[in-house]
Homo-oligomer: 482 residues x 2
């Protein structure tokens, strides 16, 4: 690994992150917020750390990025962003320990949205804005990571999507990433702006609308209200957010084509059709189940079921209902939805729809083979053959997802935390959802967990967000051998 | 599918099963048991049903068994054995509903050992003996199924073991199955007899010793005492049973070679080494964890931890301790152990050690490939290359295991059963363990579950015991198409 080049790029990422800190700083400056110093100081520290890192490592800049470097850049960038992103929380006194500040920060940058903050309403506006922005920055990072970096690295079966992304015709890794990032970020920023406008029209005040637009498009789920979206008690707002969470769960390159008039790319994508089916089935079952339990009318049941199902499947994690009051079936279904996550190339987490779809296909093919042992059947996705290496990558991904979840759950239970809370917080963190069940349900938060548990979950968020392989590799001796 | 031939063989299985009913009948006859009529009548019904089935379908006997027929014979045989095996429970009044009788019967024949019977001590001896025998018969069936039938059918990656089984030199399916069955059953029966003797020497009365020998070697777990093995409060008995559960979790063809003096076959088998490692790690962690929680001395902790870990990993399901009183980590670890199960070719359930070992290997290989994309590495097991089709079968198996567990858990929660009880009873049934967590822990039983839940779990036991594919295939339209 070329550690100098990796740190050089990480320095760039830090400078980029620090510039975003100017947004809450300026806001706080104009409204004379109490957090203006904390934000200003955080900017200065982060900016100079970034500049220092960048210039200290600048000499080697002409070397081309290799595979190993790619994995290292991504992991180290997310770790550094989260570290420096925790300064506003610490310096403003919003978080009293480094553990809490780091947890809140990494829950932002990984777009998870699990929080240790109580009484959000008492926090200064600048901090709340920074909190929402961390998710939005994380979302930008993920779009580039999943559509530009991962397909080239080929981890977890992602070589499949080399052809999916807009073609740019540049072969080298760095210019291609930058070009693609630009066009996809325009769409991301555009959708965010539209959503903020719509939320304002629907009655949210501008500040809250902007914050929620940031965290919706990032499928992050941080809210400015302790009661999350339930605070607004507005069917219109619920509907708008449900729609935009759904959009954020779609591959952004499909939006890219749609904006060029090629709307058929949506329906041609079998992953999109699978995603729609999963959402449709989940909404139907939860609606019927919550209605049947006599808690609400059809209209209400549909409204809360669709919001909550889309919120969980896209791994956003907003709440409009305390689903722990729902029948057990609905709760269990929400837990299952966490695994699905968004489409590849969306900001959503989880295992990704296409991976689960391909697992269904291969399982069916295995059954078919038992009946027709001599039949030659290749697995297809959108009329293209899926190479065996891709499938191998997906199965390896599934196994590592399960293995790490199990180990993390064992660690949580070793701290004396009950099984439901342990397992659900781990799954929620691995899938970057946010709320879980048990002691970390939609109406509680993660504050009461022991510090060691917070670090376990922080690690799960990182590993889940970066598609497992990216992070795991750094822990393997083969990675460091020549 | 050749339904006539399938029913013909199922008829033979029924006759075979009915003959076993004579054992508890004779016992009951000599001790003037109140259940003598119930057992006698059950024998008559089962025997004549078997004979009728056999002779009605006899004409087509010369046709050779095909793949599809193989799957159908196995599934239908287990269903019919369980159906007729429930007669003693119903006719003696031990079970008051057909659901309960069928549940108890299938929990026997699938060697699961989950029970709906309260106060075993009040049941007549004949019924208790029949209950233990159902597991022993199930174990015999499983040895043949996994070492003779599955490798030839090639389901779930099991073609791997074609070479593992003692070579007999006959090519046709039926004579080969019969020859192999004989040699392996001698070992099975021999170990059972030795165990019964040892238990008698250790102070158990002869009847209980025989019953427990049956259910230990089958890794079934039915006991003649409501308190299970904890009733005896004997370190010697605990030790003997731990040892024999461990032996029952080993591939019986390794015992076959060992009896011919080739003991090195044990240590040469990487699955055996993996199995030993899993057991060793589990015992160590649980011993330390239960000691640390201040509940017992090292000797006691080791005794209960090793009994319970081996009981769960081999999917026997006996209890000497109420592990729901143990720290959460130990409980969670036991839940994980259920997935591992015994070795292929043992009577143990679960996913089988070799499958999980190969998943670890493939996940590592995927990681290796990301670092060295051009390296050609084949997956090896005991120095032989593992074909890609085998791996595909294993991944398909894993996915179906998860998928069916999830669907079954959703069905259980739809009945209003809490998540811990739902998930743990489903996993315990799929893995053929027996006890679970929550309302079906080691000191409770399954009697209080709703009837629909019992049917869901009965189906899980069948599907788990028959390696999933065997049963699932029968539900697929392609199976029935020409």
């Amino acid at each position: 690994m070329n550690i100098v080049l990796v740190l050089n790029l990480a320095g760039l990422v830090l400078i980029f992150t620090s510039l975003f800190m100017l947004v809450p700083f300026t806001t706080s400056f104009f409204i004379h917020g109490e957090d203006v110093y904390a934000l200003g100081l955080s900017f200065v520290i982060t900016f100079f750390a970034g500049v220092l890192l960048y210039f200290l490592t600048k000499s080697q800049k002409k070397i081309e990025l290799k595979h190993r470097d790619g994995y290292a850049v991504v992991t180290i960038s997310w770790l550094l962003m989260s570290f420096f992103g925790s300064f506003p929380y610490m310096l403003s006194g919003a978080c009293l320990s480094f553990t809490d500040a780091y947890f809140e920060s990494i829950a932002g940058f990984t777009t998870t949205g699990s929080s240790i903050l109580n009484n959000l309403e008492t926090l200064p506006a600048g901090i709340l804005l920074w909190r929402s922005l961390t998710q939005w920055i994380g979302g930008m990072g993920i779009i580039v990571f999943s559509l530009a970096i991962l397909p080239m690295l080929g981890a977890g079966g992602m070589q499949l999507f080399k052809a999916e992304v807009p073609e740019i015709g540049v072969e080298k890794l760095r210019p291609r990433i930058i070009d693609m990032a630009k066009s996809l970020w325009y769409i991301y920023a555009g959708l965010t702006a539209v959503l903020a406008l719509l939320l304002t029209f629907a009655g949210m005040d501008l500040f809250d609308a902007v914050c929620h637009a940031f965290t919706t498009m990032a499928t992050g789920g941080f809210s400015t209200k302790s009661a999350s979206i339930a605070y607004y008690q507005s069917g219109t707002i619920d509907f708008i957010i449900t729609l935009f969470m759904f959009l954020a769960g779609i591959n952004f390159s499909l939006h890219f084509y749609a904006l060029r008039g090629r709307f058929s790319r949506y329906t041609k994508s079998s992953e999109f059709r699978f995603y729609c089916s999963v959402v449709f089935i989940a909404i139907t079952v939860i609606t019927l189940n919550t209605m049947q339990s006599g808690q609400s009318s059809l209209a209400d049941a549909l409204r809360y079921a669709s919001f909550q199902a889309v919120s969980i499947v896209t791994t956003t994690g907003y709440a409009t209902a305390d689903y722990e009051m729902w029948p057990v079936l609905s709760q269990m279904l929400l837990l299952c939805l966490m695994f699905f996550g968004g489409m590849v190339g969306s900001t959503g987490g989880g295992m990704k729809q296409v991976r689960i779809m391909l697992m269904f296909k291969q399982a069916y093919r295995e059954l078919y083979h038992l009946i027709h042992p001599r039949a030659l059947t290749a697995l297809k996705l959108d009329d293209k053959n899926v190479p065996k290496e891709t499938l191998g990558g997906i199965w390896g991904y599934l196994f590592l997802f399960i293995l790490i979840s199990v180990i993390a759950t064992l660690l949580m239970t070793a701290l004396g935390i009950d099984i439901i809370t342990s397992a659900s917080t781990v799954i929620s963190s691995m899938a970057n959802v946010g709320p879980a069940l048990g002691d970390a349900g939609p109406t509680e938060n993660y504050a009461a967990l022991p510090a060691a548990g917070k670090w376990v979950l922080a690690f799960c968020m990182l590993i889940g967000r970066l598609e497992i392989y990216t992070v795991i590799l750094l822990f393997m001796p083969i990675f460091w051998r020549k």
